[in-house]
């Protein structure tokens, strides 16, 4: 599969502080890439540079060969983004949120109506007419994903989509993500829930703004001689920190 997203020496600095330090990776078309790392590792900063929410300090993001800095409008059309807090309007109902996001995404009135009908079988009717502030996190997550997919984007960027929801909801969510992959979507998911890694085709572990491990989960486990992802993850972090303290390098986190 060809690379749909290419990240080259991507760096983000906030003043003297380096949040993401010249990272390189690529995402192939139709794959799920798990972006793992502890809190403050640089996951959100990287995703926000990919979708144009943060200015790139140096390096390059290429999406379908287009430079993300110069082609924001085109890239907006092919990417969907779901943020950590689901980014729904708490005082609007689910249906109103759908109408609003459809409207600002440029969907026609007819298509918005179709989307409102499409969600009916997925969410119980009373929830749809309730204000977002009053509905459970699992439902919020479902609606946020629906909103993210409204324009049928080729690339889906999910920033910790499963934080704050219970294990069953998480499992169901990942089933949906898997279906999306099957339909040809390319997905980048950041998470710090290590048990979710089994769903990803490949994983990247980022720590202090640097990529410290990259590969297929089973292959990585075998290579490092670890029987679980948890062990692999912990080991990678500890090794990196030890190496850092030995070399006395000043590193970064966001």
């Amino acid at each position: 599969m060809p690379a749909l997203i290419e990240i080259k020496d991507l760096t983000k600095k906030f003043g003297h502080f380096t949040a993401v330090n010249a990272i390189n990776f690529s995402i192939r078309q139709g794959e799920i890439l798990g972006f793992l790392g502890p809190n403050g590792a640089g996951k959100t900063t990287t995703i926000k540079m990919i979708n144009g929410l943060l200015k790139i300090s140096s390096g390059q993001v290429l999406i379908k060969g287009l430079d993300a800095r110069k082609n924001r409008r085109e890239i907006k059309k092919i990417t969907g983004y779901m943020s950590q807090k689901f980014s729904l309007y708490p005082l609007l109902t689910s249906l109103e949120n759908i109408e609003f996001f459809g409207g600002i995404s440029g969907l026609s009135r007819h298509n918005i109506q179709k989307k409102k009908e499409e969600i009916q079988p997925l969410i119980p009717r009373p929830i749809l007419t309730q204000k977002i502030v009053d509905i459970p996190p699992g439902m919020k997550q479902k609606i946020a994903l629906f909103v993210c997919l409204m324009t049928d984007p080729e690339i889906i960027l999910l920033d910790e989509p499963t934080s704050g929801v219970d294990p069953e909801v998480r499992r169901n969510f990942w089933m949906e993500i898997y279906q999306l992959k099957k339909s040809g979507k390319t997905i980048l998911v950041s998470t710090h829930n290590l048990d979710e890694v089994e769903y990803a085709d490949r994983i990247i572990i980022i720590h202090r703004g640097n990529i410290i491990l990259e590969g297929e989960p089973s292959e990585l486990q075998a290579r490092q001689g670890k029987d679980s992802i948890e062990a692999l993850f912990k080991d990678a972090i500890i090794n990196y920190d030890n190496q850092l303290s030995r070399t006395g390098g000043a590193e970064c986190s966001d």
């Binding site: 926000k48 979708n51 144009g52 929410l53 943060l54 200015k55 907006k76 059309k77 990417t79 983004y81 943020s83 950590q84 807090k85 980014s87 729904l88 309007y89 708490p90 005082l91 609007l92 109103e96 109408e99 609003f100 996001f101 459809g102 409207g103 600002i104 995404s105 440029g106 204000k131």
Partner: protein, 365 residues
């Protein structure tokens, strides 16, 4: 069309906050009526004590006049001498008027009159002194007339536009401008920062909305609410206080729209540079207070010291208040206040430019 959805969303969010609705639409009317009474500078019923130490008939007639005017409220009349300083110290009265026997060399037999005033409230004291001198002058003129004599010099004062010198006619239009400022400034200053707090700003920015659409989507709903409030305020001062509106209100609409573009640009700037709603509200409060004090509403602009006058010169409320008074009381057309409109336009151009630049900086940090 995208802008329509953003404006609709803003209105839904405002109208869903049920506890806020009375504050937006009812509180301002109550405020305007309250302020209308409170900021009245007309002084009536000044409490006075009269000490009459003479049996002079003229003194009795003057006391009668003081008694019958609503300007003074005579709390006591005594024929015993008292310590006037002690009376004023007690604070029961603001003035003590003492009538004494006429001086011996006075052929007209007019009593000697002394008025002592409590100078702590300098404004009231000066007005009380003016009222009292007015009563004496009127009394003397009436006496001259009765004696078939003319006064030595004639002067006739004609007061135009507000002949009854009702302070509400002067203050009311100013309060309307203030109302428009309060609502628009507070609402708009939290609009963008709220999006930042609930992380919905990111979604707006990666949507197909352009920065200008986001900017307008925030400014238009609060402008509409501000203008509705202003209309309610105008209706309140017209109906409740019977303040005359002699000019064309369409000019006022034009001035208000220019004023709002300046004010909302400033409010959006506050919203862009702050990170929490609390910070934004603090900024808005500080701004409103400064704008208000330097607006010419409570003190004439001419009384503001030169250093602060620069701030008054760039204060958009100052020009709106001037324009509202011109339209309300003088019935003037645009040819009389085009300069103020141009000043407003200049201020709006600068604030909108600065605000848009900062907004663009926010979205590309």
């Amino acid at each position: 069309m995208r802008l329509f959805y953003l404006i609709k969303k803003e209105f839904i969010e405002i109208f869903r906050q049920k506890e806020l609705l009375p504050l937006i639409f009812i509180a301002p009317i109550i405020q305007i009526i309250m302020l209308g009474y409170v900021v009245k500078t007309d002084i009536k019923n000044i409490p006075v004590e009269i000490i009459n130490l003479t049996s002079n008939k003229i003194a009795a007639r003057i006391i009668n006049r003081i008694n019958s005017t609503p300007l003074f409220r005579v709390k006591a009349i005594s024929d015993q001498n008292k310590d006037t300083v002690e009376l004023l110290k007690r604070g029961q009265v603001k003035a003590v008027i003492i009538f004494k026997d006429p001086p011996r060399q006075n052929p007209l037999n007019y009593p000697e009159i002394q008025i002592s005033l409590d100078g702590i409230d300098s404004n009231t004291s000066l007005i009380a002194a003016g009222y009292f001198n007015g009563i004496i002058k009127k009394f003397l003129l009436d006496n001259l007339k009765k004696a078939g004599m003319h006064q030595p010099a004639m002067s006739k004062t004609l007061i135009r536009f507000n002949p009854t010198l009702e302070s509400i006619n002067y203050m009311g239009p100013g309060i309307v401008a203030l109302l428009l400022t309060i609502i628009s400034l507070f609402f708009t200053s939290i609009s963008i920062v709220r999006e930042k707090e609930q992380q919905t700003m990111d979604t707006l920015l990666i949507s197909r909305l352009t920065p200008i659409e986001i900017y307008l989507g925030k400014a238009i709903p609060t402008s509409i609410i501000g203008l509705i409030n202003m209309s309610l305020g105008i209706a309140a001062v017209m109906i409740w206080f019977r303040v005359p509106v002699r000019g064309n209100l369409l000019y006022l609409l034009l001035a208000s729209i220019i004023f709002l573009s300046a004010l909302l640009a400033y409010a959006l700037l506050i919203s862009v540079i702050t990170s929490t709603q609390q910070q934004a509200l603090f900024f808005a409060w500080f701004t409103m207070l400064t704008f208000m004090l330097l607006s010419g509403l409570f003190t004439p602009i001419e009384n503001i010291p030169p250093g602060l006058r620069i701030l008054a010169d760039i204060n958009p409320i100052r020009y709106l208040i001037k324009i509202i008074r011109e339209i309300f009381l003088k019935g003037n057309g645009i040819e009389y206040f085009y300069k103020e409109l141009l000043y407003l336009l200049a201020i709006a151009s600068v604030t909108v430019t600065v605000s848009v630049i900062n907004f663009k900086r926010l979205i590309s940090k």
